[in-house]
């Protein structure tokens, strides 16, 4: 039995490592097994997540970075089903969004940046324990940002000054994946898995400035490749609290940590 479990784990890790992608999904996925108590019940959490993506429109590729703090509320049902919701605040930076592509254009800054926008995430997961120390789970989650991110810059075009405002509207993402979980002594859960992911946001410039790629007109930024991999550790603390540390890697590395409490 142990040999079989070990084989499944090794194969899972190989699958995860061989999958290549260019994007990572927003927020942690958490361990496949719900953190609620075995009989079910509420759990809450508070976490921080640093997310990096590569977003592309038809012509250019931009690196985005989000820093999120969030509060989570979940309800675990018996037989390892879990629904959860998160509400949080996120900042967004889009590198080189204002970088000129011609020498005739200059800008006062290169990066788009705005902080503290509300977002919410809804998710569900199910877990199947193959062995007392090993199990497989699946999840799906999606996030939506209630507010638009906006930033502006000033510059010159052929010596004439201009001010341009850029808006990133209707940012959302959806993710789904499979997780493999192993429980080691002290109740620590290790988990890895592959996932698929899609995100997009509309870019809305206030004017068209020649030499600034993102101001050419309304366009959509989205991730190009949809596959990624994640891994994490879920460790019990004391008095009902648990610590989760998770990382994702696709084209760029993302990661974060959360502390949950199970009622």
């Amino acid at each position: 039995m142990h040999t079989k479990t070990l084989k499944v784990m090794v194969i899972s890790i190989i699958i995860m490592l061989t999958i290549q992608g260019t994007a990572a999904a927003s927020g942690p996925f958490g361990p496949p097994q719900p953190v609620s108590r075995p009989a079910g019940g509420l759990h809450t959490g508070f976490g921080y997540w640093l997310q990096e993506d590569k977003l592309k429109d038809n012509n250019e590729e931009y690196i985005s970075r989000q820093q999120q703090i969030y509060s989570e509320l979940g309800y675990g049902f018996q037989k390892n089903w879990d629904l959860y919701a998160r509400v949080g605040l996120s900042g967004l930076k889009l590198f080189d969004a204002f970088s000129p592509t011609t020498t005739a254009t200059t800008t006062s800054k290169n990066d788009f940046s705005e902080n503290w926008k509300f977002f919410t995430t809804l998710g569900a997961k199910g877990f199947y324990p193959v062995h007392p120390a090993f199990g497989i789970g699946a999840f799906v989650q999606g996030s939506y940002y209630f507010s638009d991110f906006t930033d502006n810059t000033t510059g010159t075009r052929n010596g004439a000054p201009f001010t341009i405002e850029l808006g990133l509207k209707n940012l959302w993402d959806v993710s789904a994946g499979i997780g493999f979980q192993a429980t080691i002594p002290w109740g620590i859960n290790l988990y890895v898995g592959p996932y698929v992911y899609y995100t997009e946001t509309k870019v809305a410039p206030s004017a068209n400035i020649t030499g600034l790629a993102l101001t050419a007109g309304e366009t959509t930024l989205k991730n190009n490749t949809v596959f990624g991999g994640f891994a994490g550790i879920d460790a019990p603390l004391s008095r009902g609290f648990r610590l989760q540390i998770e990382g994702k890697y696709a084209d760029r590395l993302s990661g974060g940590a959360a502390i949950t409490y199970s009622y």
Binding site: T44, G45, F46, S71, R239, G240, F241, I259, T260, Y261
Partner: protein, 309 residues
């Protein structure tokens, strides 16, 4: 889930008082007469009410009288040794020079409760399920954290202040902004402190003075009335902006709390020979216990009944 206190007229009638006083004052941000969850006028415990002495129409001559009697170990028949007889028995009363006025206000508050607050709270409880109402109560309790925290510090109750700070952080972060109360779980077990400014004054030796039964607010004393004013400035909702917002929030809080305690006041009234005297004496005893224990757990016999903040 928090244990709710036995109702006091002050608690039940706080919201309307607030609204009325604010309206009468006509000042948006001046927190006139306000009782907060940590206010001095706590609910009288049922046990104490049942054991309360009979009505005493005339007040004691001194502003505050504490009578201590120590007897031997024999019982009343002087033949069987009674282990409890050797303990110090303490009876605390308070001067009541305004008794005619106080009794009138007691009756006024009583009618207001039965004719207005209770029906409204009953209707509210039909619409809103109990878990939601408990969540609202938890939220308001969490919001009044500064009152308990600062007064614990003022009383040099540093363990209590640390406990309050821990409760606030845990309940805010992992209790969905205070709607849940994980800090009270068996595993975490951080006790909610009973601390207010009137109690702080009492810890520093300020006497209660005489008994006042405020219209709408209920039982109090000059010291505790001053304490209410001090607590107002530690209650975050008064900084919410327009007075309608925080007044509405406080009135709603009182209706919500009342909906969780319907029946308690009725039981208290039925159990007492003279409800006015029972409430008065229970109030004085409760405040004395609060000062003695400096926010710690209630003394035996009243545990879980008196926490109102």
């Amino acid at each position: 889930m928090p244990q709710k206190a036995v109702p006091s007229m002050k608690s039940y009638l706080f919201g309307v008082t607030l609204l009325c006083v604010v309206l009468a004052a006509g000042c948006a941000h001046k927190p006139a007469v306000v009782s907060d969850p940590a206010s001095s006028a706590a609910a009288p415990p049922a046990q104490q009410v049942m054991a309360a002495p009979k009505a005493e129409p005339s007040p004691p001559p001194s502003p505050e009288v504490s009578v201590k009697a120590v007897s031997g170990n024999l019982d009343d028949y002087q033949d069987i040794e009674d282990p409890d007889k050797g303990k110090e028995v303490e009876k605390v009363t308070i001067a009541d020079p305004l008794e005619p006025f106080n009794r009138a206000m007691f009756q006024f508050n009583d009618k207001l409760y039965f004719w207005f607050l209770k029906p409204v709270a009953q209707g509210y409880s039909k619409v809103v399920p109990e878990p939601a109402r408990v969540g609202v109560s938890n939220f308001y309790t969490n919001l009044s954290f500064p009152i308990r925290f600062v007064n614990s510090l003022l009383q040099a109750n540093f363990a209590g202040a640390a406990s309050e700070l821990g409760r606030f952080i845990i309940n805010t972060v992992w209790g969905i902004g205070g709607l849940l109360d994980p800090a009270a779980s068996k595993e975490i077990d951080l006790k909610k402190q009973r601390a207010d400014f009137g109690q702080t004054l009492g810890v520093y030796g300020v006497g209660q003075g005489f008994y006042i039964h405020w219209p709408l607010l209920g039982p109090s004393s000059p010291r505790d009335t001053v304490g209410i004013v001090g607590d107002i400035f530690l209650y975050p909702s008064i900084y919410l902006g327009p007075w309608e917002v925080w007044a509405g929030a406080r009135v709603y809080e009182r209706f919500n709390d009342t909906s969780l305690r319907i029946g308690d006041y009725e039981s208290l009234k039925e159990a007492a020979i003279d409800p006015y005297v029972a409430v008065r004496d229970a109030y004085v005893q409760y405040r004395l216990n609060m000062i003695k224990h400096k926010g710690g757990p209630p003394p035996p016999g009243v545990k879980g009944l008196l926490e109102n903040n």
